[in-house]
């Protein structure tokens, strides 16, 4: 479920409303009224009734305040109390993605259905091709015996009328690692030991039941305290707003950030480091090296494909290099990484140089809440000039491209791209240590198909974002280059 939909809009509205209260310093006083403000008496409910919408909004707000839904134990603690608790320091560990039980629709187990489009034809390929004899014709129409069906999908592929449908559980279907499953009560639960924080379930759930713990109020509090705070903008951010990058820089400074840094500079360092590592490892006889900048992928290897771990690059990520540099220059500077990624929250929690992570939609919400119109911001002077390819790190193929650019022998880098993690590509990855890559010596892996520009917390359409990112770097798309 990509793109614009009501789940996205609910999320953004909550972020905007909360950020607005935080900027005005009225969070503790007014947050408990937000659920009612958003679903006032007489409004059209999107769930069974406005009271349920309000109750769920309360849980969502807990996540916006930085708590997981499991932190709710007594249902009596007002949100204002959580606001106060949040002002004290909080542990950085714990689950990032959690399910709101009350919002989860406890979808029926994924299965195949015969719709009433079935014409009970003579050929009956559904019956003849079923390996489990689960399809029978009853009263002139095919019917699937749930007990026997193993959901292989052969009947669906064979039906000449497209009369058979598969109804999945959306979150389970997209989870590449089987980390989200039904609990005893039928509601979905996320298994922390398996979850790689990729955020695909959050994007897929049509009932807006999955939330991520945010740090938006913590960052706004720091800005209001006028602490020195640096905004570290991931390469994908350049494609997230309709206005030019220099205006975004000026907007961030206006919002209270002390300085803005492009993470593309760190991406260049990652590429240079990784290029040397590739040379060394291949020279030492290793078959291939995989990228390590995607934190969801790194977690997937650690938790699910340990055999691949020796092949994953040891090179730190662009976020690490950029934040390290900022902290070396100004040790008291707080670092806020801003990108489209949920898994970065996990990487940051384990990284000593990153203080906070914001997602791009949270940044957007902060701009709206602070009343900053990007188009009206004067373009800031922007002199940072990382390697152009490093600015395209966030588009699938960008990491490999940058590696080739910085390599003393570009043709010695033979890339293979894993563009998006799903059950199939994870299977492929798990086979690489034994079967090899078929000639490639560098495997670029991105959890989001299309690259970070298609991340779970993006504002722009991925294609638009990729184009803008390339424009900002002054580089044409590979396709455009092939034509010219």
């Amino acid at each position: 479920m990509n793109g614009d939909n009501n789940v996205q809009r609910i999320k953004r509205r909550l972020l905007i409303e909360t950020a607005a209260l935080a900027f005005r310093g009225r969070l503790a006083e007014e947050i408990d009224a937000l659920p009612v403000k958003l679903f006032p008496k007489g409004s059209t409910p999107t769930r069974c009734c406005i009271y349920k919408s309000r109750a769920i909004t309360r849980y969502r707000l807990m996540a916006v305040l930085g708590y997981s839904t499991q932190d709710e134990t007594d249902e009596c603690t007002p949100l204002s109390e959580y606001v106060r608790r949040a002002e004290e320091s909080r542990p950085r560990s714990g689950p990032i993605l959690t399910v709101i039980n009350e919002a989860c629709s406890a979808c029926l187990k994924g299965r195949h259905y015969v719709t009433n489009v079935c014409r009970g034809c003579v050929a009956r390929p559904c019956v003849t091709n079923c390996p489990k004899q689960a399809v029978q014709i009853i009263s002139g129409r095919a019917r699937i015996d749930e007990e026997r069906c193993v959901n292989c999908g052969l009947c669906l592929q064979q039906c000449p009328y497209h009369a058979i449908v598969y109804v999945p559980i959306p979150c389970e279907e997209v989870c590449p690692v089987g980390a989200i499953r039904k609990g005893p009560d039928g509601h979905e639960q996320i298994d922390e030991d398996k979850c790689i924080d990729c955020g695909k379930c959050l994007q897929a759930c049509p009932f807006a039941a999955i939330v991520e713990r945010s740090q938006i109020v913590d960052v706004i509090r720091r800005l209001r305290q006028q602490k020195p705070v640096a905004a570290l903008l991931a390469p994908a951010v350049a494609g997230q707003f309709p206005q030019e990058f220099s205006k975004l820089v000026s907007a961030l400074l206006k919002m209270g950030f002390t300085r803005v840094v492009e993470v593309a500079a760190g991406a260049e360092m990652t590429a240079r480091h990784e290029s040397r590592e590739l040379q060394e490892k291949i020279g030492a006889g290793q078959a291939f090296l995989t990228s390590s900048c995607c934190p969801a992928y790194v977690q997937a290897v650690r938790k699910h494909i340990p055999a691949l771990a020796p092949f994953v690059s040891q090179t730190p990520s662009p976020m690490h290099f950029t934040a390290q540099q900022v902290k070396q220059q100004q040790p008291d500077m707080l670092t806020v990484f801003i990108g489209p990624c949920i898994a970065k929250r996990r990487e940051a929690a384990d990284n000593p140089y990153i203080d906070y992570v914001l997602t791009t939609d949270e940044l957007g919400a902060m701009l709206v809440a602070a009343g900053i119109e990007l188009a009206d911001c004067p373009p800031a002077e922007w002199t940072e000039s990382p390697l152009p390819q490093a600015r395209v790190f966030a588009v699938s193929g960008g990491v490999a491209e940058t590696l080739r650019t910085v390599s003393p022998e570009p043709d010695a880098v033979r890339p293979m791209l894993i563009d998006g993690l799903d059950k199939k590509s994870l299977k492929l990855l798990s086979l690489l240590p034994a079967r090899g890559t078929g000639g490639a010596n560098f495997v670029e892996v991105m959890s989001c198909a299309g690259g970070c520009v298609a991340g779970p917390c993006n504002i722009s359409q991925p294609k638009t974002a990729a184009r803008k990112v390339r424009d900002f770097a002054g580089l044409q798309s590979p396709a455009a280059r092939a034509v010219s």
Partner: protein, 90 residues
């Protein structure tokens, strides 16, 4: 047939609330309404500051303002407008 202009606000509020996706709906809208349309992104239309117009994202077609715009609402409005007047006048 002269294309009908659909103005999509790309001010910060509207963009954050999803207007970026509305910009890419040209084909979908054209096929649903069987008429050429031209989708234009506009800088802030100023409607988000005006309480009476509901909530972002905003889309303007002629003098009609659509609040909390979706592809569905845009197509609905276009169909109504087309039904009101003979084709040639639009």
């Amino acid at each position: 047939m002269k294309p009908l202009t659909i103005t999509i606000c790309t001010g910060t509020t509207c963009y954050v609330m999803g207007s970026g996706y509305l910009l890419s709906l040209q084909e979908q809208i054209e096929s649903a309404c069987s008429r050429p349309v031209e989708i234009v992104g506009s800088s802030c239309l100023g409607l988000c500051k005006d309480g009476q117009y509901g909530r972002a994202p905003f889309v303007q077609i002629g003098s009609t303002v659509i609040a909390e715009a979706t592809a569905e609402k845009i197509i609905e409005t276009l169909k109504q407008q087309t039904a009101r007047k003979p084709m040639e006048q639009i």
